[in-house]
Each structure stands twice: as C-alpha cells, then as structure tokens.
C-alpha cells in the first residue's frame, strides 16, 4: 500500500488509551481518508471494533516506563515506536500518537513531499501560557515524535535502527546530551538519533509549521467532530478545525 497511518495504542492501569484511539481513528477516516494500522496488545485490542480500512497488529509490550502526570508517576508504554519502520505496511507512513487529533487534512501535504523523514521541531501552546517547554532541558534541541512522516528508504531504516540503539543505551545518551528527564522519551530518542546520524550536526528537514499542543494542566471537557473544548481553572475555551495534541488523559476515564 502507498500511504497510511500508523498508531500505537496500549491501555495502562491508569489510562484507557483505546478510547482516545477510537476518536483518533474516527477523525483520520473523516479528514485524512487513509488506511490505518493500529499496533496494540491483546488486552487493548478487545476494545476495538472492526473498522473497514483498519488493520491491527498485535505485539506483546513489556515495558516498565513511566511519566510524570499531574503530580504522580504513572505507567507509560511508549517503547514500541522505535519499531515503526518494521510495523508499517505502507511506503509512506504518517506515524501519529493516538492523542493527536486530526481535524484537518493538512498532514496530507507532507506525504507529497520528496523528504523521506519529517517531524515537528516547533510547538505552539494553544493555551497561550507557554507551558510546554522550559529552558535547559537538554543540550540538543528537542524534536517531537508525535507526528512523523516517513518513507521506506535505506536512510530511514538507518534512522530507526539508530533510534533502537539510542533506546537500548538510553542512560548513556541521556547523560551525553544532558537530558533533564530520567524516563525514556521518544522525543529525545528521535532527536539524539537524528543528531548522531546527521554527523552530529543539526538535522535540517522539519515540518514547516508548529505542532499545536494543549498542556496536561488543561482539562478536556469534550471532543466533537470539529473541536476540542477545554477548561483551565474557571475558564472554558475551544479550539476548532485545528490539529491538536491533547495531553490531558483524565477525560478518558470517569471523572
């Protein structure tokens, strides 16, 4: 197949990611109209109905990673992404987080590019409070592994092999690049792999626009077919017809 979307989705003891993935699949079908492959485990897979155009690839995930979320460390199954090159059925792949909601067809433009590997290096905090990035998080500029367009080329295979190497030796690379966060983060693994593979100079091909993000401090109240309604303290706002990476996961569970 020529072009398709690859999603990773694993429920954790604290978060029902499959609910978010179902919304994500719905929006991809509506706005990108591409075939989808969901990489998941047996436990999560039983929540997915059969969709036309959606393929499931079952893997056994056995990671013990965690992330800091609203004052707690919670389980985070994010290690499988390094295998995206092997997991993808497509010549051109849009690798998306299942919490990245596509309300527009904008990502299709990336697939028409000659570039074989594109991802964001800029982020736009839609809350207006600039809570996403702080200074001095590492000695390497971050890239965002949330949205990655890649093609099956020899160079891209090398990039993913390098990402696997970074993942296997993450403590070494984390110290080398002075990454502040102790847990494994794909964003830094991708940034480090690209830096290493580019001869230790900055990688230059990125998605030309910033990635819209809603910080986890903001409660998502509703996700409709066109918008995300969110709340911070006593203020309610809405973002409409804009692709957005939603960091709040509480709305998936019963509040």
């Amino acid at each position: 197949m020529d072009t398709g979307v690859l999603l990773y989705c694993f429920d954790t003891p604290t978060t029902q990611y499959h609910k978010l993935a179902l919304k994500c699949i719905d929006l991809i079908n509506k706005n990108l109209k591409l075939p989808i492959t969901v990489v998941t485990d047996h436990e999560t897979h039983r929540h997915f109905p059969q969709f036309a155009g959606t393929t499931y690839r079952l893997v056994k995930q056995n990671t013990t990673n965690y992330r800091f979320y609203r004052g707690h460390n919670i389980p985070w199954y994010n290690m499988e992404r390094a295998n995206a090159y092997e997991h993808s059925l497509y010549q051109t792949t849009l690798l998306l987080d299942c919490d990245y909601l596509t309300f527009t067809p904008n990502l299709l433009e990336l697939c028409n590019s000659k570039s074989d590997f594109l991802l964001h290096n800029n982020v736009h905090d839609i809350s207006g409070l600039n809570k996403i990035q702080t200074k001095l998080e590492s000695t390497i500029p971050i890239v965002w592994a949330t949205v990655v367009m890649f093609k099956k080329t020899e160079r891209v295979k090398m990039i993913f092999d390098m990402i696997k190497n970074v993942q296997e030796n993450y403590e070494h690379y984390r110290n080398l690049y002075r990454v502040k966060f102790k847990n494994y983060r794909n964003d830094y693994a991708f940034a480090i792999a690209l830096h290493q593979l580019s001869g230790q100079v900055n990688h230059s091909n990125f998605i030309p626009s910033a990635m819209n993000m809603l910080p986890h401090e903001f409660d998502v109240l509703e996700v409709t077919d066109t918008s995300v309604v969110y709340k911070y303290k006593d203020k309610v706002n809405v973002v409409t017809d804009t692709d957005v990476h939603v960091l709040d996961k509480e709305f998936l569970n019963d509040r």
């Binding site: 990336l110 590019s113 736009h124 706002n237 804009t242």
Partner: protein, 104 residues
C-alpha cells in the same frame, strides 16, 4: 469603574488574544503546501518572491521551507496555487476576526 467590570474586560481581552494567536497558527499550518515534491509556506514572502522571479524568468529555482532547492518550470501554476491557498486561509481568518470584533 468598579474592579469587577475591569476584571471582566481583562478576561475577555485575554480570551480574544489567545483565540487570535491560535487562529494565526491555524492559518500558518494550513499555508504549508507541497509543490514539485517540496514544502512551501503560502505566505506573503513566498508569493512576493515567486511573483518577482516570475517577472524576470520563465523558469527559476527557489528554496523551500527547509532550504532545499526546487526548480519551478511553470511559475504561473505555482503562483496561482500559492495565492489560492493564501487567500483560502486569510478568508477563514477574516471571518473569525469579524466574529471576534462582535464579541468586543
């Protein structure tokens, strides 16, 4: 004027500012377009550059958003696509701007 009214005005001004920032970012995201396998921003700078080069040459080279060279063999086609995308995004922004004006 009582402080409650001033706070309300300030809250509204903040909401409008955030909405405007997000609308501009939404416009920029939509302005990214692929042409001849390269990615360009359909913004005023690209349109002006293409328009100027087109006035002097039937074909030319231009750098894309990632500084990769692209051979433009049909400047009229490229320029019309850039303008169409640019005006589509500005039309959307203009409608939102009008609705924000009514909220003030």
């Amino acid at each position: 004027m009582d402080i409650g009214k001033l706070k309300k005005y300030s809250d509204l001004a903040h909401d409008l500012s955030v909405t405007k920032r997000n609308s501009l970012e939404k416009m920029r995201s939509r302005q990214v377009m692929a042409y001849n396998g390269r990615l360009f921003k359909a913004d005023a700078q690209t349109i002006n550059t293409v328009s100027t080069l087109k006035a002097h040459a039937k074909q030319f080279y231009i750098l894309d958003s990632n500084d990769n060279p692209c051979h433009i063999q049909d400047p009229n086609d490229f320029l019309s696509k850039l303008i169409a995308r640019n005006q589509e995004t500005l039309n959307t922004l203009s409608q939102l701007h009008d609705s924000l004006q009514r909220r003030k």
